[in-house]
Amino acid sequence: MNPDAQDILNKSADQLMGQLAPALNAQYSQGTAAVMALLLKFAGKEYERGADIRAAENADLRALFAELTPRVGDAALRKRTEDAAATHDTSLAISALNAANHDLRRTLIALQIWIEENGSREDQQRIWSALRASADRRIVSLF
């Protein structure tokens, strides 16, 4: 698709911020238009990276589950993490990646609770390493 969505969103944001917002005569409208322009910029960045960061996070979480499952003493949880580790992303649509991610995150929360109560410090740090990587990937930069 040419121009691509990121280009369209970026240029629309620039026009909204630089030309349209200043032409509005109400302070509230100007402020609202400026925030909308910023959101368009964010959306442009998300268009470019959205599938990539979700697929990467999902792969990270599956690898984490595969690594920690042998050390999970609770049978039901071990089955859950084992099953989650074996899943795959079958579509790169954001909605499909999100649905898979939400399932994986729910399993991660259950696993982290168990590890906090029963696991080693190294396993806790391993989970935090995955959470930090997730937070780093998802942060929205202004610049």
């Binding site: 302070q27 509230y28 925030v35 964010f42 982290q112 935090w128 959470l131 930090r132 942060i139």
Partner: protein, 337 residues
């Protein structure tokens, strides 16, 4: 702006102030956060004119707050001599302007520092920082009973402050999360497992005391502390931790609120409050502050996604601010694991 709102506002004020000739002019909505609709207007009567602010509940409020809280905080701290707008009238009914509202004095020739600006206070950053942390210290040091605010919502005992606030914001996340939040959930568990010492005293906590929530003028004087709608009773360290949170540091966490160096800011607060900022206790409240931020941003995203409040500030909060605080929490808690 709608003529009907102007007319109804004039009718209300004329009756309230016993000024039958009162008229309202130049009513215009201005930015003022997503949790209240904010309007500036001029009220004329008896040959005089006064610039005023109307703060009205939106159709759906971001964080459900007791409607009289903000107004009563303005009353109490205005009497104490702190820079807050003079409160004029509070209306809890929906007959006059469809929704509850209050009216306060406008602060002229003053501005707000954008939280996105790298250096909003420029040459006045030291002067503003001294005032900012000193005023917060005075709030912390004030006696809620003397202020007439001892019935505010919040903790009733010093050892319950942390528990009350964690429960409050956990409930918000429970109700509003649109997707699983492993970092926020881990933070809640950590906060519960590692409670802080009891508060030194029960104080009025502003609840959203930060850069971007005060007005200052061209001379670098703080003219008004705004947005008291989340005020409550609690541990005064809660406000200090929120004020020094990295999100409000204008991209330089070593200078909280884009003003003083961190150690200097805490020293100013201690001197003004007469309290101590125990480093371990403050560290707990800093983690809590970022968790509270996550809860507010999750709630904002929920309001936007469900169509209850489509102010784009809510989308910005749910996107930019939430990912920011998730990173702060992941870095801090990851280092402690």
């Amino acid at each position: 702006m709608s003529d009907a709102l102007s007319e109804n506002l004039a009718k209300y004020l004329a009756a309230k102030l016993n000024a039958p000739d009162l008229t309202v002019h130049d009513l215009a909505r201005i930015p003022g956060g997503a949790s209240r609709e904010t309007y500036r207007f001029r009220a004329r009567h008896g040959g005089t004119e006064r610039k005023l602010i109307l703060r009205r509940d939106p159709p759906a409020s971001l964080i459900e707050t007791e409607r009289s809280t903000e107004y009563r905080a303005y009353e109490a701290f205005h009497k104490l001599g702190l820079p807050v707008p003079e409160p004029i009238a509070l209306e809890l009914g929906s007959e006059a302007l469809e929704r509850p509202f209050f009216i306060m004095a406008d602060i002229e020739n003053a501005m707000v520092g954008s939280i996105l600006a790298p250096d909003p206070y420029g040459a006045h950053r030291e002067k503003i920082g001294q005032q900012f942390f000193s005023i917060l210290g005075r709030i912390a040091g004030a006696d809620p009973k003397v202020l007439g605010l001892s019935d505010f919502e919040g903790a009733s005992a010093p050892d319950q402050c942390w528990r009350h606030e964690v429960a409050r914001w956990e409930k918000v996340i429970d109700e509003d999360e649109g997707e699983p939040q492993p970092i926020a959930r881990a933070a809640i568990r950590w906060l519960k497992r590692n409670p802080p010492p009891p508060a030194q005293k029960i104080s009025v906590v502003h609840g959203d005391y930060r850069s971007g929530n005060f007005l200052f003028d061209a001379d670098g004087d703080i003219r008004a502390i705004l947005d008291w709608e989340m005020a409550h009773l609690g541990d005064p360290l809660e406000d200090l931790a929120w004020a020094i949170d990295p999100l409000w540091a204008h991209h330089d966490p070593s200078h909280p609120a884009g003003t003083l160096a961190r150690a200097d800011a805490i020293k100013v607060w201690e001197q003004a409050s007469g309290l101590k900022a125990d480093p371990a206790a403050l560290a707990w409240w800093e983690i809590f502050a970022s968790l509270k931020g996550c809860a507010i941003w999750i709630s904002a995203a929920h309001e936007y996604a469900t169509g209850r409040n489509d102010d784009p500030v809510n989308a910005f909060s749910g996107w930019y601010c939430l990912t920011y605080h998730n990173k702060v929490l992941a870095d801090r808690l990851g280092a402690l694991a």
